[in-house]
Point group: C2
Chain length 402, copies 2
């Protein structure tokens, strides 16, 4: 017989899944109610309203996809991209490749460029590619958790908007942890996940899109035959499960009977959004910035170097270079075994060159920063580095005290 | 500011989402750990092993899809069906239409037949269609929650197996509540949901498939370009998110880094499967059968009539005819308002002709059956029916006492 599950808590300082807020986990113990129960419908409406505030948008369609973040990326991209549509994807890490993969499966004509890992694009570079390729859609990552880089978006959004190009953004690693302005930056569609700065468990995507995307979704509308035997549309989307034309009708007053909403995960997202707004979006973003400044000060005090362009660091995830003669794997193992702290290895080509350290949502707090710095100093010393004891923590504390 | 969520419990006797077992909800408060944490990987392995026992199969690939049941149906069907593949779908209610919809979006050559609502197929009828159409795949629903009917599958499985035809079955409304034998009935692929007889929240699908389907999945394998830039396959599946070739590699020793597993929902499914096996699969199925017998005895004692073929009733969900001169909507409202019990309306063409009553998993219990019968007797009496007080409950109790 399998034993009952019991999980010992860890301090999670990876790019995710991040620590969930205990208050979010707690609401999931509420009993199940029907998906068309008026109480449940009002929770759905709350999620839409709170989602708009967090995305800083007036878009009506702001709702949950019942799947992890990439389900949201696929739902939104495959709704917008029809076969042979021209899509430009400026890649600067793993998740740009994912957008290209999804656009390719949606049968778009995909043009990509790639930046060396650790860099982002200048607006000049982006304009040049856009002018030459003339895409219908540009899809780009805001925060690349694989490299710790954050791409500025405002100038790109303005340019796309001026040229009638749709801009879709993966804000999974940034929303609610870094400044993000859907409407002010002229972004047409955005995807966020549940499990990073919103501090809910993985398994939900939060999306928003404006009337330009809504118009495409409407043109591709196809209601499943068990609900409407006469609905036909040669332009229908490839997936039933991720079909935004039906999903938006479930979330609006039509209340189309599509899937059964993931009840407990919706409760979790309701509470996650509520706690984000209760703290205050600006306050929350400043908390991430402060904790990142303290973390970076501590790392610098140990003479550790950061990976990538210092002007475009993510405030939620940093890539730290592994010092020479240090085994990155042994350090990670020691952090878990001696201090119960998890950090992540690098990804792809920089797998053994960097560690990735995340401080996301509920996990972005002073205690986590100081615990990690102290632990890292200790395990690096164990492995032969000469470090002045307590210097990292002191440097971080100095940041908190200013 | 949005209020904190608080849900008053209801007695849920609909076809779903069903009441979750409180022990399942409770495990979701365990802290988040990393998706490649050895502790988490061992939970994934447990889920596979327990899933095999519940499906009664030796299939290696028995795992979770991070989405509701229809995500599992789509993942499995769109893995098996390639453009122009011949697919036969014998429809006898809403969820047969869903399978046809999904097969059509997967670009199969879809042949359907439809039974009048309330009927199932004889093996003679199925053989005739199969012989004439010669499909590669037959896809069928086991328990139709829209009509309360259960389709016998053993003879169909044997026939498909003899003729090299793949059989895919939607067991969402039956697994762990009615007898289901994946291997003994020669079924190639099966999908179940989290939110019915397994008593977990909606949001996960549990699937299993055998080596014949595994071979197709392998031939369509395509690893996303961010992980393997050289992977190409013109036969790749349309979806990245639901791509079984990558998902199975995440669940096996390859541990391919695809999505981030929905941590808390995996905890829930682990506990749901564990509790199912702790009770004993046969005992659990007999519990559903007993509670259904008691429910039917009580309904009969009120002279209420059942909808559909009495020889093929689902043991989990029954469709009850609305008596003449009774407003079905008023009865449902009164049950919720006066007794906090929810039953469901009919679906589609029989929307106002029947009520659908479910007793699924944790919700399949004597107290729920007796509460509903007593409440129904009361609200029907209020609306003018002449019923002998207490007769329904007594008839049900007589079943429990035999």
């Amino acid at each position: 017989m399998t034993n009952a599950l019991h999980i010992e808590p860890r301090i999670i300082m990876t790019p995710g899944p991040a620590e969930a807020d205990p208050r979010v986990l707690k609401v999931m113990t509420n009993p199940i109610i029907g998906q068309f129960d008026p109480v449940f419908l009002s929770l759905m409406d709350d999620v839409m309203a709170m989602g708009r505030q967090v995305f800083k948008t007036s878009n009506h369609y702001t709702y949950l996809i019942n799947g992890t973040a990439r389900a949201g990326i696929e739902a939104l991209m495959s709704a917008v991209i029809e076969p042979d549509d021209k899509v430009y994807i400026p890649i600067f890490g793993r998740f740009g490749h994912l957008m290209a993969e999804i656009a390719t499966r949606a049968k778009g004509k995909v043009h990509t460029t790639e930046k060396p890992l650790g860099e982002v694009y200048t607006i000049t570079e982006l304009k040049r590619e856009i002018d030459a390729f003339k895409p219908k859609v540009v899809a780009i990552v805001h925060g690349e958790s694989s490299t710790g880089m954050m791409q500025p978006l405002k100038a790109l959004g303005t340019y796309c908007n001026q040229h009638g190009i749709l801009l879709i953004v993966d804000a999974v690693a940034t929303l609610a942890g870094a400044a993000f302005e859907t409407d002010a930056w002229h972004i047409d569609g955005v995807i966020a996940g549940s499990q990073k700065c919103l501090s809910a468990p993985a398994g939900m995507a939060l999306i928003t899109y404006n009337k330009r995307i809504e118009a495409i979704v409407e043109k591709r509308k196809k209601i499943e035959q068990g609900l409407d035997p006469h609905s036909q549309n040669p332009r229908m989307m490839p997936s039933n499960y991720l079909d935004l034309s039906q999903l938006q009708a479930y979330w609006d007053a039509t209340r189309l009977n599509h899937h059964t909403e993931a009840t407990s995960m919706l409760y979790a997202m309701h509470e996650a959004l509520r706690l984000t707004l209760e703290e205050g979006l600006a306050v929350r973003i400043e908390r991430h910035a402060l904790n990142m400044r303290a973390l970076l000060a501590g790392l610098k005090a140990m003479n550790l170097e950061l990976f990538g362009d210092k002007k475009h660091l993510l405030p939620t995830i940093v890539c730290l270079k592994v010092p020479e003669a240090i085994d990155p794997h042994r350090i990670r193992t020691a952090l878990v075994q001696d201090f119960n702290i998890e950090i992540a290895p690098g990804f792809g080509a920089i797998k053994d060159e960097v560690w990735r350290i995340g401080q996301l949502g509920y996990g972005s707090r002073k205690q986590n920063v100081l615990s990690l710095l102290t632990a890292l100093e200790s395990v690096l010393t164990d492995q032969g580095m000469v470090l002045e004891e307590g210097r990292a923590k002191a440097a971080a504390l100095a940041v908190y005290q200013t």
